[in-house]
């Protein structure tokens, strides 16, 4: 059995070690195009879980690696001249160069052949060929893996510094061109990694493309001078880069398999690249052992085991990359909330998990949020019993008129009676989605012998829907105004999901120049009548290539705010029946985040949130102000009397 490993980084060397340990009869060679002591980048980070699997896989290298580790458990966030610290995050880091030395030495001791300075041009002859040659893998280009490489996140540049930080430190710096941020962490007793990043717009504004390597370094040194406390930044071919997100449809092609960055990258801001790479090697070696060198079967096992884990990490990494690209929008948040938002950016830390890692931090957050001190760690729902937390019952769609009903079962506002509990009255006109069969049968199935439907343009909604007629705007305006005399606690105007007012807002369904005209007219008229809290339910994007984009939706939300809306109920899609929705848990949270923090208006968000922890995390991080929970049926019975209740957690104004 012969194995050729292309690429002498952590994944390739570690795999060499594990394979020789597995079977000394196997010939293993590692081909590296650079010299043994050439390495790019500074320190690499590991989490506690990774260390456990390294210990099990090879105690010898584990010992050496952990001996030289820099360890810490604190995250510092330096923001607006304040330092916010969170504890309980166990990290370790090591100089990449030191890590490679340890792995190379162990390879030699185990009889792995190491060939440096060799460029591979064709696939080597071997029973197993491993592409461990990084994000720009050559091996990958020689096979059929269905590869996609696309840039993600901000522009970044990777430096070292001789200032030894004592925590994983995020530093934010305002400039005339926008916000810069640094990710800094120690990796031995002398040095730290110091990565600087900024969004493309900022990068272009500062004309970094025209600056030399030395000029960029000098710029960053000056920008972060106070945090560097007189220490220098060091360059190691440190130039501004785009982070390449690599995905592959399959990770093996016959006898060729990809590991590490060649197979998948994960944005550096969650520090998981090296961890994933070395875990790949462990999984691959274990699969070969289990399958007794039946290469084909082992490669399938390897891919099946690693695929879902890597996919989840990549999704978290992309969320994190996106967070830093848009971090400027959070500049208005209170430092405590800003910090909690940062810590929960990738969905891997939630309010509940942080309250275990760092109860002091969540206590501070909860106290800030609740506006009063809380004693012992809140066990279940931290905002339970706070004066600014309340529950509302959503009414479901209530029509302003009989013609505005969705189906014959839809209540009309004149006949609607409020429940005893506080209620959110959701008022709307179904427009071209009206006159349908009961919702229990399905949606958008036209009712035989129904009533005439109206919309701003004569396009039918679904495949068998009739063409709508022009609405009598004066009459409909009067219906909304009359409805605003109703007894409710919060009034919501439905401008989402392709109902009448929503269909005015989209270029897909309204050919007029000024699409906001009638919806704003309705909003203004109702605002005059209704003194209580007024919400607008809005499809922030049409999820359609020719429809309203998220940016359009944010502009609309801004216009609604200026016209007197107090709250946006964030929805998406359903403007047309053939949109391209993106369903998953919490699928509206990111949209709510953008509306709240870019249009700067409070938001209510649902989108299949099923736990109080999700609600607490969203509200605590300032991604929404009110949360609509879809509790699973069992939990509804346990915690609430009836289904379809709205659980709202309100942020103070």
């Amino acid at each position: 059995m012969t194995v050729e490993i292309v690429g002498g980084g952590p994944a390739g060397l570690y795999l060499g070690i594990l394979l020789r340990k597995l079977d000394r009869a196997v010939e293993v060679r590692v081909l590296e195009r650079n010299a043994p002591d050439a390495t790019f980048g500074w320190g690499v980070v590991f989490s506690e879980e990774t260390l456990g699997s390294l210990r099990d896989a090879d105690p010898e290298t584990h010992l050496e690696i952990t001996d030289t580790f820099a360890r810490w458990d604190r995250v510092d966030i330096r923001y607006q001249d304040r330092v916010l610290s969170s504890r309980g995050h166990s990290f370790s880091a090591i100089a990449r160069r030191r890590l490679l030395e340890i792995l190379q030495a162990r390879c030699r001791a185990l009889g792995v052949e190491l060939t440096f300075g060799t460029e591979v041009e064709a696939l080597p002859e071997a029973d197993l060929v491993v592409g461990a040659d990084g994000a720009n893998s050559l091996v990958r280009r020689l096979g059929d893996f269905g590869t996609t490489v696309e840039p993600e996140g901000s522009k970044y540049v990777w430096f070292g510094t001789d200032l030894v930080f004592d925590a994983f430190t995020f530093i934010f710096k305002e400039t005339e061109n926008g916000l810069y941020n640094a990710h800094a962490y120690p990796y031995d007793e002398h040095m730290s990694t110091f990565i600087v990043e900024c969004p493309l717009e900022t990068w272009l504004g500062a004309r970094h493309g025209d600056r030399s390597e030395e000029e960029s370094l000098a710029f960053c040194e000056q920008l972060f001078a106070r945090d560097l406390r007189g220490h220098e930044l060091f360059s190691n071919r440190s130039i501004w880069l785009d982070f390449p997100k690599v995905t592959n449809r399959v990770w093996h092609d016959r006898r060729v398999v990809l590991v590490g960055d060649a197979a998948h990258t994960a944005h550096f801001s969650i520090g998981s690249g090296t961890k994933l790479a070395m875990e790949d090697s462990i999984a691959l070696a274990n699969a070969l052992a289990r399958r007794r060198w039946d290469v084909e079967a082992a490669l399938v096992d390897y891919e099946l085991e690693r695929g879902p884990l890597v996919e989840r990490t990549q999704a978290a990494a992309s969320d994190s990359a996106g967070y830093f690209r848009r971090v400027g929008r959070y500049r208005h948040l209170e430092p405590t909330q800003f910090a909690f938002n940062l810590l929960t950016r990738s969905g891997r830390i939630t309010h509940a998990t942080l309250s275990i890692r760092d109860p002091q931090f969540t206590r501070t957050l909860d106290a800030w949020f609740g506006g009063k001190e809380v004693s012992p760690p809140p066990a279940f729902s931290p905002w339970e019993g706070f004066p600014n937390r309340f529950s509302l019952v959503p009414s479901g769609f209530v029509a302003v008129s009989a013609e505005g009903r969705i189906s014959e079962e839809t209540p009309v506002v004149g006949e609607w009676t409020r429940p005893k509990e506080p209620v959110l009255l959701q008022l709307g006109h179904a427009g071209r989605r009206g006159s349908c069969r009961p919702v229990s049968v399905g949606r958008d199935l036209p009712l035989p012998h129904g009533w005439p439907i109206v919309a701003p343009a004569p396009m039918p909604y679904g495949p068998f829907s009739p063409a709508p007629q022009r609405p009598d705007e004066a009459e409909i305006l009067a219906q909304f105004v009359a409805a605003a005399e109703v007894d409710a606690d919060v009034l919501e105007l439905d401008m989402a999901h392709g109902y009448l007012l929503g269909s005015y807002l989209s270029p897909l369904t309204n050919l007029e120049e000024d699409r906001l005209r009638f919806p704003l007219q309705v909003l203004a008229a109702v605002r005059d009548m209704w003194a209580g809290p007024l919400a607008v339910r809005l499809s922030v994007t049409d999820w359609h290539p020719r429809g309203s984009s998220v940016d359009d939706g944010i502009a609309i939300a801004r216009a609604m705010r200026d016209a007197g809306a107090d709250l946006i109920h964030v929805e998406a899609g359903q403007t047309v029946h053939d949109d391209r929705p993106e369903y998953r848990r919490g699928f509206l949270t990111a949209l709510s985040d953008r509306v709240r923090n870019e249009a700067r208006i409070p938001t209510l968000v649902g989108g299949y949130l099923t736990t109080l922890d999700e609600a607490n995390t969203i509200v605590g991080a300032g991604r929404a102000d009110l949360v609509l929970l879809d509790l699973p049926p069992a939990q509804i019975e346990r915690t609430l009397d009836t289904s379809n209740k709205l659980l709202l957690a309100e942020v103070r104004p």
């Binding site: 449809r249 949606r443 199935l445 053939d578 949109d579 391209r580 369903y583 848990r585």
Partner: protein, 275 residues
């Protein structure tokens, strides 16, 4: 969770006689449904023809397509075929529809591959009774309608027009992910309650080699992906029990297990595992 069993309409060696005997025994066993796959360019039986025959051979189990490729058929004919099976079986049809995965089926049927998603949406709406004055009988009331697919549009079609979701197979974890998306779509479309969730998997308890050879042939068109399907092939009672438990925990309502060989003994052994 209910457990159903596939009729081996696509496995080599299955005769008409065998399929009917299989349906009869399934009806007498611990299974809640018998289900069929659909593929045009392959040595396999036509799903509605098989379910019609199964309707006569059974009296209890539901008869399900998991799934039938809707857009290979004209909409009105599809509706009539489905309604006929439903009528013949005394109202036992579960009609799972999706767009399928092979262009060659569309070419052989003389149907457009482009626009297949839109056409499936029309078919689901039509079968649900969206057309006023349409006179294609028999009555379709009470057909349990499911839709499959993994795109956002597929989930929204499912939630808009049907009773639930037909998953395409895979480990329980993959099913759970799809189920969450189906539930999210269901709530988003304002439907009441929750969608019915159907899952499926492949097994053999008689001849793993033969079963695997069939899977490799049947899924050759998927390229490297066939390896995953083979790796998920259930070949022991224990694996089947784990699989069933995993699906149950993921919220599945009906799990259909398809045998990869047509041996009647498969059914007996599966009955032991399930029972």
């Amino acid at each position: 969770m209910n457990v159903g069993v596939g009729l081996p309409t696509t496995t080599p060696g299955a005769t008409g006689e065998r399929l009917l005997e299989w349906a009869r025994r399934a009806d007498a066993g611990p299974f809640s449904s018998v289900a069929v796959l659909d593929r045009l360019v392959y040595d396999s039986f036509e799903p509605f023809a098989v379910l019609s025959a199964a309707a006569g051979a059974t009296s209890r189990v539901r008869l399900a397509t998991m799934i039938a490729i809707g857009p290979l058929r004209s909409t009105a004919l599809l509706a009539k075929q489905a309604a006929s099976v439903h009528g013949l079986s005394g109202g036992r049809l579960t009609l799972g529809l999706a767009v399928g995965a092979r262009v060659e089926d569309y070419e052989a049927a003389g149907m457009e591959h482009r626009g297949r998603g839109r056409k499936l949406g029309e078919q689901l709406a039509y079968i649900r009774g969206a057309v006023d004055g349409e006179r294609v009988g028999p009555a379709r009331d009470g057909i349990e309608l499911l839709a499959g697919g993994l795109s956002g549009q597929a989930f929204s079609r499912m939630a808009r027009y049907t009773d639930g979701y037909a998953h395409n197979g895979g480990p329980p974890r993959a099913f759970a992910g799809a189920a969450a998306r189906a539930e999210a779509a269901w709530r988003d479309l304002g439907r009441e309650g929750r969608p019915r969730l159907w899952g499926q998997g492949y097994f053999t308890l008689c001849d793993p080699e033969r079963g695997e050879a069939y899977l490799r042939d049947y899924y050759a068109f998927t390229g490297g992906f066939v390896e995953r399907i083979v790796a998920e092939h259930l070949t022991s009672i224990r694996a089947i029990k784990d699989f069933i438990r995993g699906y149950e925990e993921a919220g599945c309502d009906e799990l259909v297990l398809f045998s990869t060989t047509p041996a009647l003994e498969e059914l007996e052994r599966l009955a032991e595992a399930v029972g």
